[in-house]
Amino acid sequence: MRWLSCWRASLVLVLHLAAVGAASEQFDEDLTIRPLRDGKLSARFSFSTLLKDATPRDPQQLSSDDEAQHYTLFPLALGQILREYAVTELHLTLNAGKWNYDAWGYPEEPGVGTGAELWAWMGESIPASVDQRWQGLRNALAGLFCASLGHLDEQRTTSPALTFQPEGSLPNFTYPHQLRHATLPSEHVCTENLTPFLKLLPCKSLSGIASLLNPHRLFDADWHGLGVHVRYREDVGVEVRLTFQAIFDPVRYSQEKRRDWSLRSVFDRSIERACPVARSSKVRVELPRGPSPYSITPDPTAIIDGVATYVVDASEEALDVAMRWPTEDTFEYPNTSEAPPLTELSVRRTLKGTNQAEAQLTLVITNNLPVQVTTGYLETMPWLLQFYLHTLRAHVNGVARDDLVSILSYTPPVPHSRPALLQAVLTLPPSSTLHLTMDVVKPFLRYTEHQPDAQRGWDLPPAVLVPFAFGEGQNGTVAAAHGRRPRRMYTPIMLVDLATPDFSMPYNVIIMSCTLIALIFGSVFNLLTRKFVVVRVSPASDAQAAAEQRQQQR
């Protein structure tokens, strides 16, 4: 009896707390699964927590004490950082792999650049400048997510405000908001980043959709990335959205080379129980449009526009969504040269050249649409690669078309301190390929500036393309379909070889150069300080004879 009453009391308490939480905070989780045409499977987890009626901290009030914050669902560790540095909007992504836009289409979460990317909108203020808070923010996040975000220093920080527009709204503070953006392409993402990420979730990975986040499987995926997105929605509140996106390859897992998948086969787990504090918890599966018949089990709660939805809290037993293609013996890969790309643009960026001083940056953009496309082009290049802007050339089918590059803005790099920022608008003629080339120089580093793995070279951040205007073609539908918000496309990262000394034998090098300098200095000094006089030299025998004579005289 006593146990029962105790149980009841605690239940009441939980319900009460849940009610309080529900009043000011709400938590929604969502898993979107999308079978891809190359047999792969895209999965996107989204956990969003809304702090109702909250506003970002006004940076002008940073000198005075902050008002008390009480969170039940909202991640406290993150909330403290946001308040401490008065961040209005924050986006952090940690990705591994190269997103294949042609075969996978646009990702659900646009930030798919390889490595770490952090950008934040912050209000300017007198007591603490944006740059000071940016430094504090990246160090705090580095600690929170166990990532080398501290390296996102001023050598990598830019402010490309056109490409990275705020996704929420910016409150009216005393001073306008500013953007800080930095990428670290060499950052590796692994389980040490996922553990702190899971800690920010109200149900951790114990229940609900988050229970599928099995690190053994996630980090074996062809592409995976986690993201933290904070934005302020006017009249609604502050929203934190934690996302995890991955591309799995069921064909690789299967012995028979089939593309059938289930939650258990992909994640090695199924959803055993729902997260009790989640307002909504849904699994959405985009149904394939291909000709081969498929089956999906169990029956979805609803099917809307080719998307099957499963509501997790309603199910009594464990949810294990499975999809199979019964008529397929083995999966047949589509021919990549014949299958049309799934995005409007296909981009390749390469660094060509054979020496350690100069190279050529080549950007090849194919417009897959029958209409003209206008796209923004952004390079945030550390000073490790310096552009010769006057050599920027555009070609279409071998014909020079420099008129296709317009509204070029360029902030030159400052060696050893600031990256370059290149923004341009490119006009892509219908169904054609634009070749953009530019000569670049590779600077000479100070020997202390080399990384510990000096012979590796340097990873360079991805370029970003934002196709924003689609001209009218023969069929107006193409243009109409893209009436929504412009989406970013990230190019793959690059590796650049800079001239590197042989660090394996520094002492040999030091001794050798010191000897050379000593020799040269010695001879020059000797010549400079020598006095030239005429010396009368008698033959040696005479001198000896004279000496002997002198001795005899003595």
Binding site: W223, D249, S337, K352, G353, P492, M494, V537
Partner: protein
């Protein structure tokens, strides 16, 4: 005791003015050196040449070892199984069918692309054509880029096979099993998510031309006579590459070929790792090139010449010497000519460490199974790299599969020969500047004796300008010779006669210096020797084999070149030297053609070097002989 010190000091410094004493001492030293010069030269030459001969000796060399810790060769379990071998056999059947149908390059490349696409690896073809003296060289490459899971695509490993095997330096033997290995390996490697770098598979057409077209296009290096389609798939920086050559039905040994264009070598760690893996994971014995050691395998003909006495033939040291010498001579033959010993050699220019693994044709016991395991494990080792290969050695002489020589142990041989030439040249220079004063026409015996005792040597002007212009003219002639060869219009016999006679005719234009100044021949020889010595010494660091060849061909001949009072003797000498300078035009036309092809298609510097540096230098010696 103490009293002795001033005496010693006096003895050393001499009396009187210390400056004068110093100058005297210097003079005495120079005198000594001058008197000893002939001996110094002989000693330097002897030691240098003997050293060259001693390089294959078993006393030299040390065991190879892995220097880069990240490589961890042979530390993985390989999963390549008989199923994969079966698949390779299937691909081989298809390839044999294509061969029997006399399929065009296009059909073969399309077949390869189809196979790659079937397993889900994007693949494309690339057409190319080279304009050469012998006509247009066309072909089609197939390549596939496997985007590795989780990898950023900034780094890549290349696995390649050319359609023609390197057997007989591309004599037309097909590399069917090599191509089959690469295609089936692609199929197999795709199953794993452990690749940290993209894997690029290249099936190149022809022997060397296909890969040259592909790799230059990949790096955007323009080549005026190459028309190649741009690549539509790309990946990142290539650090390492492995080329598979498997021409026979089975193989007994795995040969490692590593010499690249223009004498470049890959990092030694790469070949050490692959040979370690071949021995331990694959159980396949490793060879340098395709030289089977006659001591390990019975029924192989001995490599020692038949005329050697039996006692020497059975001597272990002599046998070891012969085996090593064969490896070194083969290596030097590739390196000196700047030729690639396989398709891998084309990649070195782009800072890619690459080797060819050559399955030495035999009746057994190894086949796809061992080769697949070796390649899988080797790729895993390359995959481990976090940095470029930079430890270990880039300059080495691989005398045996497990033995090598460091640069310091072989470089001095050539440098010594170069130094001997330099001393000879300086000696000639001094000779040119001084002459024995002729005794005064009048006066008695006493006077003459006194004159010879005090002013025996007088200085004379040296015709520097004429000598230098003759040298410049011969080098210009070398440039003309190079263009004449490149045009391919004139037969080589005509070129030989023309360029052998032209210098003598042109020499008539140069006015002989007036009697008091030194003879032109001496000054020319002095400059010629000094320049040749500089060329040899500098080349030795870049391309040891070429420098060694130069030391052999120019060292003694240039030093002994001298004028002669009799006209017929001079003509004979001139003829001999012009044969040394230009004889290759007539004696080895095939080699000449190959060198020109290498220059045109692969940009190998050997042909221009011979025409513009070597031939003029020997011609200068010939002219020095022909001058009175």
């Amino acid at each position: 005791m103490l009293r002795a010190i001033p005496a010693i000091r006096r003895r050393l410094r001499g009396g009187g003015d210390p400056n004068a004493a110093r100058i005297r001492r210097r003079q005495a030293l120079a005198n000594k050196a001058w008197q000893g010069l002939p001996y110094i030269r002989i000693v330097l030459f002897t030691v240098g040449y003997l050293w060259l001969l001693a390089i294959p000796s078993s006393q030299f060399g040390q065991r190879t070892y892995i220097d880069e810790n990240a490589l961890q060769p042979g530390q993985v379990h390989t999963y390549w199984s008989w199923n994969d071998v079966h698949r390779a056999d299937r691909v081989l059947e298809d390839l044999e069918r294509l061969r029997d149908q006399n399929a065009t390059s296009n059909e073969i490349a399309n077949y390869a692309v189809g196979e790659f696409e079937k397993i889900g690896i994007p693949a494309r073809i690339q057409h190319y054509s080279f304009d050469t003296v012998d006509g247009v060289l066309e072909g089609t490459n197939a390549y596939a880029v496997m985007q590795s899971p989780r990898a950023s695509g900034a780094e890549a490993i290349v696995i390649s096979a050319s359609w023609l095997s390197r057997t007989g330096e591309g004599d037309g033997t097909l590399n069917l099993r090599g191509v089959a290995t690469v295609i089936s390996l692609a199929q197999y490697l795709k199953k794993y998510s452990l690749w940290a770098k993209d894997l690029v598979f290249v099936i190149s057409d022809g022997y060397l031309d296909g890969m040259q077209a592909w790799i230059t296009t990949y790096h955007g290096a323009a080549q005026p006579n190459l028309h190649a389609e741009p690549l539509t798939l790309s990946s990142g920086v290539i650090w390492t590459a492995i080329n598979v050559d498997y021409p026979g039905h089975s193989f007994s040994h795995l040969g490692i070929f590593f010499e690249g264009l223009n004498g470049r070598l890959p990092n030694q760690d790469l070949l050490n790792s692959v040979s370690l893996i071949a021995r331990h994971t694959g159980g396949v014995p490793v060879l340098v090139h395709d030289h089977v050691d006659p001591r390990d395998t019975p029924n192989t003909p001995s490599i020692l010449p038949a005329w050697l006495p039996e006692a020497l033939k059975s001597n272990a040291d002599v046998q070891e010497y012969a085996v090593r010498a064969r490896n070194i001579v083969r290596h030097m033959n590739y390196q000196a000519r700047g030729a690639a010993s396989g398709v891998h050699g084309l990649l070195h220019r782009f800072r890619i460490d690459a080797i060819t693994v050559f399955a030495v044709p035999a009746t057994g016991p190894h086949g796809f199974h061992s080769l697949g395991k070796i390649l899988e494990s080797s790729l895993r080792t390359m995959n481990n790299l976090l940095e470029r290969l930079h430890a270990s050695f880039f300059f080495f002489l691989l005398v045996g599969p497990g033995t090598f020589m460091k640069i310091g142990s072989y470089l001095p041989s050539v440098i010594l020969v170069g130094t001997a030439m330099l001393f000879s040249g300086l000696g000639e220079w001094v000779n040119a500047g001084w002459t024995l004063a002729s005794p005064p026409p009048l006066g008695g015996d006493e006077k003459t004796e006194k004159a010879s005792a005090h002013t025996s040597w007088v200085q004379r002007p040296r015709p520097v300008l004429q000598a230098v212009s003759i040298m410049a003219a011969t080098h210009l002639l070398g440039v003309l010779l190079f263009y004449a060869l490149n045009s391919g219009l004139v037969p080589s016999t005509v070129i030989f006669l023309l360029f052998a006679i032209l210098p003598v005719l042109a020499l008539q234009l140069v006015s002989s210096p007036a009697p008091p100044s030194a003879p032109l021949a001496t000054v020319l020889k002095a400059f010629n020797l000094c320049f040749a010595s500089a060329v040899i010494s500098i080349t030795s660091v870049l391309n040891f084999s070429l420098a060694a060849a130069l030391a052999v061909f120019m060292g003694l001949p240039l030093t002994v070149a001298s004028s002669s009072p009799s006209q017929p003797k001079r003509v004979v000498k001139y003829a001999l030297y012009s044969v040394l300078a230009l004889g290759w035009l007539v004696l080895c036309p095939e080699e000449t053609r190959k060198a020109i092809w290498n220059w045109e298609v692969l940009e190998v510097w050997f042909a221009p070097f011979i025409c513009i540096v070597y031939t003029p230098l020997v011609l200068q010696a010939a002219l020095a002989c022909s001058l009175p």
